[in-house]
Subunit: 389 residues, 2 copies
């Protein structure tokens, strides 16, 4: 078990009606609020009106940043930073899914960035020293952005999608009823994202971190149990609530405590797909993950034991032939994604081979995948992309 | 799944050598430190010298409070508060197990208590408004006091042992190597305490909180796997590390997220045993828990399903007769405690029936156990005590 530091200052108010905590969550920070949100779904479900009523009643001065993209772009960050500076914003309120919260985190840090170019902040190796306080209201169970410090920002000019630690939310209001109206497609994609956050840590060379592995298996089994219910009964509170709780823990770093780093291979590869084709992140992960699994299991049979554990503890499979059992676990994962309605090939998304080499080079930038759970070269990444066609 | 708020501000530095973070952990709060510790085991393992070297090098002004009792007493709290006031202490550094940390929490809050009588603070229904910052170095895996806000203080004059939320540690340094020298008896008792913190939440009327139940089963299985290793090989790092991580999560409240309250029946009963006989808390819990389980299973068959889950998911048992399976899980728990070397009867501790009625009345003070997982009367508690003889 390796050393780690647990340092997550975020307060979560979880459950029905927790928006009643919004005023007390914002109040310590000041009156000038940047209200950040996405494409308007929060208006459709009445959440925008509810938020505005609370803000107006509380005497807050609101500046709006609407239209944050599903893969949030550097231009939105620039716009947000400008609005904060112009209006002397005290606190950012992000209402939406991971993209909105990620963008808000970058804005919060960007306000104090001393350079001219905010893309330099995103690509810089330096950590954030100071950021505006951030409160969020979550409307999608997926990225875990409500309980971590990271954000992923895209630059469509350079075909780059880069994750960085900006700042933790001070408060996240997680009300599962706000996800009742999320489409089947986005519900499934979000769940694939949750599972991927777990799997990227679960497949590690450390075998003795009981808590991390047990929490990982718990979250995977919870998604396997609750996603089909949420797809069938979109307003099943219990299913939506479990998916939301799973979302927060999955990307918190807790499932990695005590474990050796793993390279997050599928995220490294998927970020290229999103950067080049602007696809839904969770869909890209669902397509890549089983192919990556089969590829590394062939390449390095020493990871068979971990795949056997995955098949046994997560899927409840059994059998004496370890190789067959390992493969059966991967097959079960792919079948689960397929049954959840996720298009499971790149071809189905209209993606061909034309950028495979460039994307592989970027995924493996600086040779970062050579230290992955199973070391990958650019040729390996291209081969995995081909397996996804 | 019920609503909850997650708000744990404590930073944990976990692993070998994390004492290197001590200076940076104290520094933000000031130079005047109250160093609180217990019976001197920290001197035997060299930790006291190591801490003093860091404090001296950092130019801290140290006031010592030594000799905090295993069931920390109100007199120690009074002494600590006086020392803090006399010396203008800025921050408390607690080095020890849960008792030392609990006492330090009460001192931290007590410094700002406006009344004359600190026992009134402990028994008061009012929460802590302000407390001195607290940093701790953990030396025993048991109470989880390193990652919660609560403390339990005893008053031997009134035979009361009362738990209350005082303040969270700002930083906990959790280095498993400091537990290598913990005796087999205390290692087993600490593990029983960890398991009890889980079991008090696990047996709840809420069945759909996947994360809470999965984390609970993970911690129980981890203790079942690692305690025998730690007893056999006291310096097995991996076993000690897992028990320490289990300790922190078990009492954090996280295993109760989304779940209905349960009354913490075994803790309510055990606190009376400790208050009257000053026994080791974990030993009292180990004795009570299987007897409580059999009693409530007989009293209310509607909890059979949960006991069957316990037998299956925690002990890996199976069988068609649900009642037999439920009992087998309880038997497995009792056998595990026995094999761990815990004296499993009150008689073995020299406790007779003389105070059973008084203790039952106090355990059920204000009828609090009528809202337990299975409602208990004073007569029920007396009967459970008898089953423990």
């Amino acid at each position: 078990m390796l050393n780690y530091t647990h340092d997550i200052p975020t307060v979560i108010h979880f459950g029905k009606g927790q928006i009643s905590r919004l005023d007390e969550s914002l109040r310590p920070y000041g009156k000038r609020v940047l209200l950040a949100y996405g494409g308007g779904s929060i208006k459709k479900i009445g959440l925008y009106d509810e938020v505005m009523e609370i803000l107006n009643k509380g005497g807050y001065i609101v500046t709006e940043l609407a239209g944050i993209e599903p893969n949030p772009r550097i231009e939105s960050v620039e716009k947000g930073v400008e609005l904060c500076k112009q209006n002397g914003v005290d606190v950012i309120l992000a209402v939406g899914g991971g993209s909105t919260i990620d963008c808000a985190k970058a804005i919060a840090a960007g306000v104090y960035w001393e350079g001219d170019d905010l893309w330099e902040m995103v690509t810089s190796k330096h950590g954030t020293l100071k950021a505006l306080p951030l409160v969020d209201i979550l409307t999608l169970s997926a990225t875990g952005s409500e309980y971590d410090g990271g954000g992923v920002i895209s630059n469509m000019k350079t075909n780059q999608k880069i994750g960085k630690s900006f700042t933790f939310p001070a408060v996240s209001i997680c009300d599962p009823t706000y996800t009742f109206s999320v489409s089947k497609y986005q519900t499934a994609a979000g769940s694939a994202d949750i599972m991927s956050h777990i799997l990227e840590n679960y497949f590690s060379r450390t075998d003795d971190s009981d808590l991390a592995d047990g929490i990982s298996e718990t979250v995977l089994k919870s998604v396997i149990r609750n996603l089909p219910i949420a797809l069938k009964e979109p307003d099943n509170y219990s299913a939506r609530a479990n998916l939301m709780a799973d979302s927060s823990i999955a990307c918190s770093g807790i499932p990695a405590y005590g474990k050796q780093g793993t390279g997050w291979s599928c995220h490294a590869m998927e970020h290229q797909l999103s950067a080049y084709y602007d696809i839904t992140h969770g869909v890209g992960l669902a397509i890549l993950t089983p192919r990556w699994m089969r590829y590394i299991l062939r390449k390095d049979p020493s990871c068979t034991g971990r795949f056997v554990r995955f098949a046994r503890n997560v899927w409840g499979l059994d059998g004496e032939d370890e190789q067959a059992l390992a493969m059966a676990g991967i097959d079960a994962l792919e079948a689960f994604f397929t049954e959840s309605g996720i298009p499971m090939t790149l071809t189905a998304l209209g993606i061909g081979t034309e950028h495979f080499e460039d994307m592989a080079n970027q995924a493996n930038g600086g040779g970062r995948l050579s230290n992955a759970y199973v070391s990958l070269t650019c040729e390996d990444v291209v081969a995995i992309f081909h397996d996804c066609l």
